[in-house]
């Protein structure tokens, strides 16, 4: 155990951001290189979390506790377990990639951009490592503003609408969550005599089943469902994705959406087990609707980025389905699928951004026959597309397969309905790929396209590495999470049965 490692990883980007604030504005290159260096350093510092993490233990590791507001029972408590470990590493991996992808794309106000992205990284990491409800909420709200600025300042034509919509959706959701947090805190305090926001302590306490638990579950669930986004709370997502710059889309799809699913896993299931069981059929229904609806809407999109955005609705439906099966395969599958979606969709957004930088259009109809002009791009694009649609041997298959195994144990019909999503995914992704890459070159502008440059190779290589790695040897990743998931399931079961027995 290395003391202070989690804090170091979390706050290194913010410190870098403060340092870069002091660098004069005109030194664009310093800002770009400095921010990338900070992000890469953060990733390197976060690697020991992975290598020294003991996958056989179910409790929190690398824990740090310090008093903050003792009279309220608020403490600075951070740490990682099998659930948050993968997401922390996903964040530290995707941030430098996003910064590198913006090397040429962001010309305007570079200083503000890199500072915002680094602050965003601290916010996202804080959400995943917080083991105190107050601290979690601080990070949860704080990271909203950087993302708002990324969309609103550096986004496309309709960026202001998209940015405001993103913020308002999230604020409404988290507002009710705040009330539920307070209510849960006081109920726990009144029942046990200890007023605390400490997550592990609160998770051990059995909240009596009933209306109170249901309402608190719904308040938490609304905040997280908007973030996921679960159908029908998804309407902010296409706007935000389409308007955000590529780097913003990568982070939004790769990490921000996972905060919602993470919230379900970390808070809803252990805090409100009865309500989770009770509302599981509703979640299943919404998840399956999201899977099918997202896929169908993707199919008809003329715009590449919108297609990828709606495919996120479909993929995140799989994650939600897996989490609420409440069995080992479903949960592990859901967790792996979170990581997969971050990698595959992140890569898709990057590659869409790359051809957008060359052609300044994202309309599928504007392309065609790219294989003849830019074969390296086309080949990598194929790998990423296949990973996203779940081809065996690549990462997407592992997660979806486990989720479906989990869903089948709940109901065969449920699994069957969800499986149609995989078929539709093949339809929209392969059809899109066919129209963009194969066929004749219909536009003269496309003949002059240049293939991937070394920087773009460097951006994509790490993602491709993990896409293949998880696909071929998933045990390296699932092994770190299984103990935690098993413990979480045992906790949910015991708490639900205790409450039912009363």
């Amino acid at each position: 155990m290395i003391p202070g490692l989690v804090s170091a990883v979390t706050f290194l980007p913010a410190l870098g951001a403060v340092a870069l604030l002091l660098v004069p504005r005109r030194l664009d290159a310093v800002h770009r290189a400095g921010a990338l260096a900070v992000a890469v350093l953060t990733f390197l510092v976060s690697v020991p979390l992975w290598t020294r993490f003991d996958g056989t233990r179910a409790d929190f590791q690398f824990e740090e506790v310090a008093g903050w507001m003792p009279s309220l029972g608020v403490s600075y408590h951070v740490g990682v377990d099998g659930i948050s470990l993968l997401l922390v590493l996903l964040t530290t991996l995707l941030t430098p990639i996003a910064l590198a992808s913006a090397w040429r794309a962001i010309e305007d106000r570079t200083k503000e951009f890199v500072v915002t992205i680094l602050l965003l990284e601290t916010g996202m990491l804080g959400v995943f490592v917080s083991l105190d409800l107050f601290l979690f909420f601080v990070f949860w709200e704080a990271m909203l503003i950087p993302m708002y600025l990324v969309i609103g300042v550096w986004g496309g034509a309709n960026r202001i609408y998209a940015a405001v919509k993103f913020v308002l959706y999230t604020m409404v959701g988290s507002a009710l969550m705040l009330v539920a947090i307070l209510a849960f805190y006081y109920q726990h305090g009144a029942a046990t005599g200890t007023y605390t926001f400490d997550v592990p302590t609160l998770a051990r306490w059995v909240l009596p089943a009933g209306l109170g638990q249901d309402l608190m579950f719904l308040a938490f669930a609304l905040a997280f469902a908007i973030k996921v986004p679960l159908f029908p709370f998804h309407t902010w997502l296409p706007d935000a994705h389409v308007e955000a710059p590529t780097a913003g889309s990568v982070i939004l799809a790769g990490v921000l959406l996972k905060m919602g699913t993470y919230g379900f896993l970390r808070f809803c299931l252990p805090f409100f087990p009865d309500a989770s069981l009770q509302f599981a059929p509703l979640v299943f229904a919404l998840a399956v609707i999201g899977i099918v609806y997202g896929a169908l809407v993707s199919t008809v999109q003329p715009d590449l980025k919108k297609l990828v955005a709606y495919s996120s609705v479909s993929h995140l439906g799989f994650v939600m389905l897996g989490l609420f099966t409440l069995n080992q395969q479903g949960l592990v599958g859901g967790l792996i699928q979170m990581v997969n979606h971050g990698l595959s969709t992140g890569a898709l957004f990057l590659m869409v951004g790359m051809i957008y930088e060359r052609r300044h259009t994202r309309l599928i109809a504007e392309f065609g026959g790219l294989w003849k002009v830019i074969p390296a791009f086309s080949a990598l694009f194929l790998v990423v597309v296949l990973s996203s649609l779940g081809l065996p041997g690549l990462n997407g298959f592992v997660g979806e397969f486990l989720v479906l195994v989990g869903a089948f144990q709940v109901s065969g019909w449920l699994a069957a309905a969800a499986t149609t999503g995989i078929i539709f995914a093949a339809v929209y992704l392969l059809w899109m790929y066919q129209r963009v890459v194969f066929g004749e070159i219909t536009r003269d502008e496309n003949r002059r396209l240049t293939d991937l440059c070394p920087r773009e190779w460097a951006v994509l290589a790490p993602l491709l590495l993990f896409i293949v790695w998880i696909g071929v040897y998933p045990a390296a990743f699932t092994g770190k999470t299984e103990a935690t998931i098993a413990a979480l399931l045992a906790q949910v079961e015991s708490k639900a049965s205790v409450a039912l027995a009363r």
């Binding site: 309220l72 503000e112 708002y148 940015a163 507002a175 307070l182």
Partner: protein
């Protein structure tokens, strides 16, 4: 029979901070008669020094400890009064710092300005230490009369005159309600002293005379804190008054009025808590909702902040509804955070103003982030704190306040409040949208750099960050401050 007249014991130290401020006010007037007569900036310096001296005196009294009472229990010295003295001194000091070159730029410089600010400050401080309804009335008048004049400082501006007139007429009307309420309470209980009102039998039961008096009292206070339905004056006065005075009305006068309101309700009328708590529930919900919804439609920044300050009063009333040490302590912390944040926001607007030209239309702020990145970021941070985004003061303040309401079981009021906060995010962020995401149309706002103003903004900014990151010691102070009320 000889009348039994006792000379009350006079303890000057009980009033020390307020006396220093009053003395400085008189000094400023005298100094105006000696050269240099063409510039008044040095008078601002004198006023600032007086306020800082009062602040030091407050700290000295606090360190000395021990409660004091003087003038036949009319004036109290306790942790509660001292806490408010600090908040009010901060507000006054920041306002004076912002005023120094604001007045030079807008042509409103005069010695009377600083004198009236100091007198209003003394009135606010006296409100916090009033132990008798008569003193509440006197202090309220001292504060209000000074502010009526200050609102009309720009004699040539029509809106300024309108603001002053409106503030005065409506204010006088509200004060008479307050006075009538005091009279009725005196009639019901036989005393105007807060402790003796509480001790009298009438305060415990549902005496109709007392309840009517309480209602009138709440009308008077409702006007001063601008709670619905007595909020109508606020937008016009905020818009017309000089921006620095708007900041003072929005913070200092609210702090003073809340100080007296909390003390009167919790010390004198705890027996009627069920009555005023139920009434304030509705007032709080209406105030925050109407304030926020009306703010949505404003394109004038000062009007928008006026409605937003109404909404914040709605939040603060939740603390009174919740009651107890938790609720009152949360209001005190909220006032501290709100004072720093609001003065900061108005301060940025004041910095953007020039003679005869107000920078209050939100469109004028388009592209500010490009031309003045530091100033734009400062205003953005103040607005984010007003929304309640962590890790800034506004968030922690809301957290304490909402927490006290949830603890007392007012879940639905809290739900209304948090939804209101989400609505409020829209109009605060609209300013950020203009500053960061739109290009300027035309010339845009020019900002005059100012040392004193910049320093004031830096202090306010440091305040909201400190209160947001390390709130524990300040929250503990607020809790300790309300302890004397709830013995």
């Amino acid at each position: 029979m000889t009348p039994d007249i006792t000379i009350p014991q006079i303890t000057i130290s009980v009033l020390l901070p307020a006396l220093i401020v009053l003395g400085t006010g008189a000094l400023v007037l005298l100094l105006d008669l000696v050269p240099p007569r063409d510039s008044k900036t040095h008078l601002g310096g004198v006023a600032l020094a007086g306020i800082l001296a009062a602040l030091l005196a407050t700290v000295w009294l606090w360190l000395r400890g021990g409660d004091g009472r003087a003038f036949g229990d009319m004036v109290l010295l306790d942790g509660y009064a001292l806490f408010f003295d600090v908040v009010i001194c901060y507000a006054a000091a920041l306002v004076v710092m912002l005023s120094m070159d604001y007045l030079a730029r807008t042509g409103g410089e005069s010695a009377e300005y600083y004198m009236l600010v100091l007198f209003a400050t003394a009135g606010m401080m006296l409100l916090a230490s009033a132990g008798d309804l008569v003193v509440v009335f006197l202090a309220l008048e001292l504060m209000s009369l000074s502010l009526y004049v200050l609102a009309g400082l720009f004699k040539t501006r029509l809106t300024s005159g309108e603001a002053s007139m409106k503030y005065f007429l409506l204010g006088a009307f509200a004060t008479s309600f307050l006075l009538y309420g005091i009279a009725l309470i005196y009639g019901a209980t036989g005393s105007t002293n807060l402790d003796r009102i509480a001790a009298s039998g009438a305060a415990k039961g549902g005496d109709p005379l007392l309840l009517i008096g309480l209602g009138f009292l709440l009308v008077g206070f409702g006007f001063k804190i601008s709670s619905v339905p007595f909020h109508m004056w606020a937008p016009d006065v905020y818009e017309g008054a000089p921006t620095t005075i708007t900041a003072f009305i929005a913070t200092g006068s609210k702090a003073g009025a809340f100080a007296a309101l909390i003390r009167v309700l919790t010390v004198a009328l705890p027996g009627a808590q069920a009555d005023w708590s139920a009434l304030l529930w509705g007032v709080a919900a209406l105030t925050m909702t109407i304030g926020n919804v009306a703010a949505l439609a404003q394109s004038n920044l000062k009007r928008m902040l006026a409605y937003s300050s109404i909404a914040h009063v709605g939040y603060m009333l939740m603390g009174l509804v919740a009651g107890g040490a938790q609720g009152a302590g949360a209001i005190l912390f909220y006032l501290l955070a709100y004072t720093f944040t609001t003065i900061g926001a108005f301060g940025v607007i004041a910095l953007c103003e020039r003679a005869g030209e107000e920078a209050v239309e939100v469109g004028g702020y388009a592209g500010l982030a490009r031309r003045h990145p530091v100033l734009a970021a400062t205003l953005a941070l103040f607005l984010l704190s007003l929304i309640g985004i962590p890790p800034l003061a506004g968030f922690v303040a809301k957290f304490y306040l909402f927490g006290s309401a949830v603890r007392a079981g007012y879940i639905w009021l809290t739900v209304i409040a948090v939804l209101n906060s989400a609505v409020a995010a829209y109009y605060y962020l609209r300013v950020v949208v203009y500053m960061y995401m739109r290009e300027p149309e035309g010339e845009g706002i020019a900002v005059t750099p100012s040392v004193a103003g910049g320093l004031a903004l830096a202090v306010a900014l440091a305040g909201i960050v400190l209160l947001g990151v390390a709130p524990a010691p300040f929250a503990d102070l607020a809790q300790a401050a309300v302890a004397p009320l709830l013995r």
